[in-house]
């Protein structure tokens, strides 16, 4: 994932966190979903965002939340699975 993509992703996640009343910092390796900072519905919003932006197909992946639990993990996941 390029720098621009990661910046957009960070913006999306920060907005989601703010919607959850979480104004805290977000580091690249910080857990988002397993830690409870974001809930499962936010995860689905993220999935839709990733599908749209990077042409990912989650139905072909043996999905586990730890695959997209932090900014770093999302970037690695996108790099490994993006079709475009």
């Amino acid at each position: 994932m390029n720098v621009d993509g990661k910046l957009k992703l960070r913006k999306f996640l920060k907005e989601a966190l703010e919607k959850h009343g979480d104004q805290g910092e977000l580091s690249d390796s910080e857990s988002l979903f397993v830690s409870g900072r974001l809930d499962s519905f936010s995860m689905m919003q993220l999935v839709m965002q990733l599908e749209e932006a990077f042409g990912l197909d989650f139905s072909t992946v043996d999905f586990d939340v730890s695959l997209i639990d932090s900014l770093d993990e999302i970037a690695a996941f996108v790099d490994a699975n993006a079709s475009a």
Binding site: K19, H20, G21, D22, G24, S31, V34, S35, G36, R37, D39, S40, F41, M43, M44, V47, M48, E51, D57, F58, S59, D62, F63, D64, S66
Partner: protein, 500 residues
């Protein structure tokens, strides 16, 4: 340092306004977990003793004092003795399960006894059958977890929820279709009764086996109905979630324990509110129970409209307070053990949409439905139609998943009603799930289309009235009495609006 909130906060503008005028809000006064001296003091022997005593007092509203002391002591020992954690967790959880089976009047023995009466089996004790079933379940669960960890291609490893519901259905079928009679049927029934409360915990444990960083087997077995929440619903989800949320430093642990005590005290406040409501409305003003109001309506002796409405609203309030009380109690004790878990209920009155209400009211129930019904559907179905995809996945979770969870929870009714009777009497709750799921699905789609509820006072009031009118009216169909049909409940609802 604050515990992450799982649900949106809606009070920031009000808090900022208060701060601007130099007022210290009650919330700020109660935020003792944010004061460094308190956090430091709570880590001393004296601080720990105070936390223990207050927590025991708070939990005593639910358990006998000695059980409360054991529970709180176990939780705090788990937090403070890292070298013994696995042993304490496994031993505590399964000892609690055995004590619950052996020492008190309990549902497991009652349900086994009910089938023994049906099958005319009298020469074994229900306790012995319960203990045997628990031993079989323990060994079976351990073995299944081991197998699914070793071979991830097994069906139970790939589709844990389907596999477990399949086992439940087979056991249920064997016990209810008179394929087997006498002692063998009672034995299978005992296994079904012991297995059922563990079903959703085991589903989380099996799902965790697939993750890259699976939890150790002892920890997995220790959080199957862990000692802090011996219920049907996994408060704190599964082992993976619990491990990630565990406090990572002495300061975090101290803050988590203080938050735990606060939550336990808040649970007691809610209990007091519930008692006060019952005293004021039921005992002083003679507002009937929902069931009594429906009975009176059906007998042609309806209460006056204000009393009938009061019955519905009071029943909803009591139910909501009870759900919040349970959740706070379980999460409070889990926090004493060091798990930084989000609250189960978080200001549901502040919900601006139906979806937000569902998220705020019963967080761990919603998470379970999302994890096992929403996510699999969302990934597989209608991928080219985003709105239909969102609606259908929400429907599968809040409708189908919700109905399955509640039917499975009340599986014991099969002993007395038979499978047919249990299904027929479930029609009203199934209808409730259908309407709730449709409402939530539409709410989700509306949000995805960019709808943002107004944050003005009038807008908030409108949202409150819409959300809670929906919840109160729908509550008529969700009460657990199973004594009225859909038609009777619809007629009662119509009478509240003067239609019938």
């Amino acid at each position: 340092m604050s515990l992450p909130s799982a649900v949106p906060s809606g009070d920031e503008p009000a808090a900022r306004l208060g701060a601007r005028f130099g007022r210290v809000s009650l919330r700020d006064r109660l935020a003792i977990d944010e004061r460094a001296p308190v956090v430091v003091a709570s880590q001393t022997w004296l601080g720990q003793s105070v936390i223990f005593l207050v927590a025991v007092l708070a939990v005593s509203s639910f358990e006998d004092w000695w059980q409360a002391a054991l529970l709180v002591g176990l939780a705090m020992a788990y937090a403070r003795l890292p070298n013994y954690r696995n042993g304490l967790l496994l031993g505590g959880t399964w000892t609690a399960a055995l004590l619950a089976l052996c020492l008190s009047q309990n549902a497991i023995q009652d349900n086994i006894r009910a089938m023994m009466v049906v099958e005319n089996v009298h020469d074994v004790s229900p306790l012995a059958l319960g203990l045997l079933a628990m031993a079989v379940f323990f060994v079976g669960a351990w073995r299944v977890l081991e197998l699914s960890r070793r071979d991830k291609t097994l069906f139970v490893a790939r589709r844990p929820m389907l596999a477990l519901l399949g086992v439940e259905a087979v056991l249920c079928g064997l016990c209810s279709l008179s394929v087997i009679d006498g002692l063998p049927r009672v034995l299978l029934w005992s296994l079904l009764i012991v297995f059922t409360p563990y079903l959703w915990f085991l589903a989380y444990a099996l799902a965790d086996q697939r993750s890259r960083d699976a939890s150790p087997p002892i920890f997995q077995m220790g959080v199957l109905r862990p000692f802090w929440s011996p219920t049907f619903l996994p408060f704190g989800k599964g082992a993976a979630f619990l491990r990630k949320t565990f406090a990572k430093s002495p300061e975090e642990l101290a803050v988590t324990q203080i938050k735990g005590v606060k939550l336990l005290l808040w649970a007691n406040v809610l209990l007091l509110i519930k008692i006060a409501l019952v005293w004021a409305f039921q005992e002083q003003l003679q507002v009937p129970s929902l069931e009594a109001a429906q009975d009176a309506f059906l007998a042609g002796q309806s209460h006056s409209l204000p009393y009938a409405w009061a019955a519905v609203i009071l029943s909803t309030a009591k139910f909501s307070l009870q759900i919040a009380f349970w959740g706070h109690l379980f999460i409070g004790v889990a926090r004493l053990a060091g798990f930084r878990l989000p609250r189960s209920t978080w200001r549901p009155l502040g919900s601006k949409t139906l979806m937000e209400y569902f998220n705020r009211f019963h967080y761990y129930f919603k998470e379970l439905l999302v994890d096992f019904f929403f996510v699999p559907t969302f990934f597989k179905m209608f991928r080219s139609y985003p709105r239909l995809r969102l609606f259908f996945a929400t429907f599968m979770a809040a409708g189908v998943g919700n109905a399955i969870w509640h039917f499975v929870r009340d599986i014991d009714l099969i002993a007395t009603m038979g499978i047919g009777g249990a299904l027929v009497s479930f029609e009203s709750y199934a209808f409730y799930c259908l309407v709730l799921a449709t409402g939530l699905g539409l709410s989700q789609v509306r949000m995805s289309m960019g709808f943002k509820p107004s944050l003005s006072l009038a807008g908030r009031l409108r949202s409150f009235l819409f959300v809670w009118s929906f919840v109160v009216c729908l509550h008529i169909f969700s009460d657990g009495s199973r004594s009225h049909s859909i038609g009777e409940r619809l007629a009662f609802l119509g009478s509240l609006f003067g239609v019938i």
